[in-house]
Amino acid sequence: MSWIHKTAAEQAAALAAGEVTSVELTQAHLDQIAATDGELHAFLHVDAEGALAQAAASDERRAAGSPLHELDGVPIAIKDVLTTEGLPTTAGSRILEGWIPPYDGTVTTKIKAAGLPILGKTNMDEFAMGSSTENSAYGPTRNPWDHGRIPGGSGGGSAAAVGAFQAPLAIGSDTGGSIRQPGAMTGTVGVKPTYGSVSRYGVIALANSLDQLGPCTRTVLDSALLHELIGGHDPRDSTSVPNQVTGLVDAARAGAARDLGGLKVGIVTELQGDAWNADVVERFDESIALLKEMGADVVEVSLPSFVHAMAAYYLILPAECSSNLAKFDAMRYGRRVTPEGSPSAEEVMKVSRDAGFGDEVKRRIIIGTYALSSGYYDAFYGQAQKIRTLIIEDFKKAFEQVDVLVSPTAPSTAWAIGEKADDPLAMYLQDLATIPANLAGVPGISIPSGVSSADGLPTGIQFLAPVLEDARLYRVGAALESALFEQWGGQITPAAYAPKGAN
């Protein structure tokens, strides 16, 4: 088995033991990117030179006996929504084509301070608007399991990169499921941390009250390692919570012992039924049986306002994004298109924004403008904010009865590229299970639950925990992962990318 097929924790251990250098690890991942990304298109920008220089510096620190962090020298990929000084950052949009940010986002700063070589920037739906990565202005990312399928979205690039062994770790952002749903589509792990527990400074905002950065990895332990690295209070983010982000790695290690005695798990009534494909439910039910075998007490709980979550989300998000994206005005940075004659600034803005934004971005800006306009504000945006309160109350009541909630991550496996590309509502319905967590700020994890008996594509299971109780996700996630790995004989991997001699 080559280095790229090892987990981030194993790569870190090998670095610590002197069995491999960061330059070797980084080169191996760059080689995999070079060999596979022409087809996969997980990356929008690869920084081979920069990553190798960072790796060489890491090796020097190791040799001197002073690594910066346990993950020092383990390479990482970053979703193109987070600013990286000197590296292009486009958020998947033409309006930011060629933009080189003059500063690092806080999470970038933390990654650099821990010594992880940055391989490059991963593809995404434009401004993170989408569930398939087809809305990227630079073309879709393909699913490593089937190149004719979508990898989920908006963070399809990060999930595909991790799933195809191009990177052991990646940063994603989750506004309504953009870390968890691509995890489910690609057979990888994705975590949306508690709102405010990872800094949003330097994140190109989609919807400020919903956005959260988090880890994309192949194992629960790797997510815990990365989550602890990127989490914590940041005075540059006024919504940052003051709590420390610790205990996640310990929770993942403890969970792997597979003792869930005393844990109460609630299956969400409203996230079952006809909308959920039978092949996804089949794998979900098997995971529930495993949780019970490990001692968990599984009950069903109802969160009645969840039925309104999608509608509330698709008003709150467009409202916030229509305001956020006003900053792309072609005046200070970004694409400027100047029409003929002597146009005014306003005319330049209108033409530039028409040329720079894709269809989904325009749809959401216009819906948001409508929802916020006088006469409609109370009926739409105001109502959506009240439903947000009802959903938060539902979570509170549910967490009085159970420790974690569980559902399938997404209603189906990955669909064919193009299948829903021009049907926004069909796309929105894919986020049914993931949206409530963002509305309430609670943390969530998606881990692979197996492969579908219908199409051989991965399926995902999602756990949700109360605000700031992210550790519970790692305990239950690591336990289920360990039980599933035993059944499968290791991780599930797409055949085209599996280690030679495996499967």
Partner: protein, 99 residues
């Protein structure tokens, strides 16, 4: 609920400073109506007694230490400007013909 007409979509796009072509209007207007029809289901769900939530984790008066930290230099801030002059952003005229 009333359907958005083509003219209303054009007006909203104008407010959002997006110069939609006729072809785009043709394409987007029906899609917007499908979306609006779907999200309109929330009307009347929550009564007047339910408070609105704007942020999932309520916080008020968040301040940081009032200390000077380095900001961007003019060169850094202007590095990505479409046009610049004398260390400033250069923009097209801001007044219309009638002003």
């Amino acid at each position: 609920m009333p359907e958005l007409s083509r003219d209303e979509v054009r007006h909203l796009a104008d407010l959002a400073r997006i110069d939609l072509s006729d072809a785009e209007l043709e394409h987007l207007a029906p899609q917007l109506n499908v979306i609006l029809e779907s999200v309109a289901s929330i009307q009347g769900v929550a009564g007047p007694d339910v408070p609105a939530t704007s942020h999932p984790i309520p916080m008020t008066n968040v301040f940081r230490e009032d200390v000077v930290v380095p900001g961007l230099t003019p060169q850094q801030a202007l590095a990505a400007a479409p046009a610049q002059e004398d260390d400033k952003f250069s923009v097209p005229r801001i007044l219309g013909d009638e002003q």
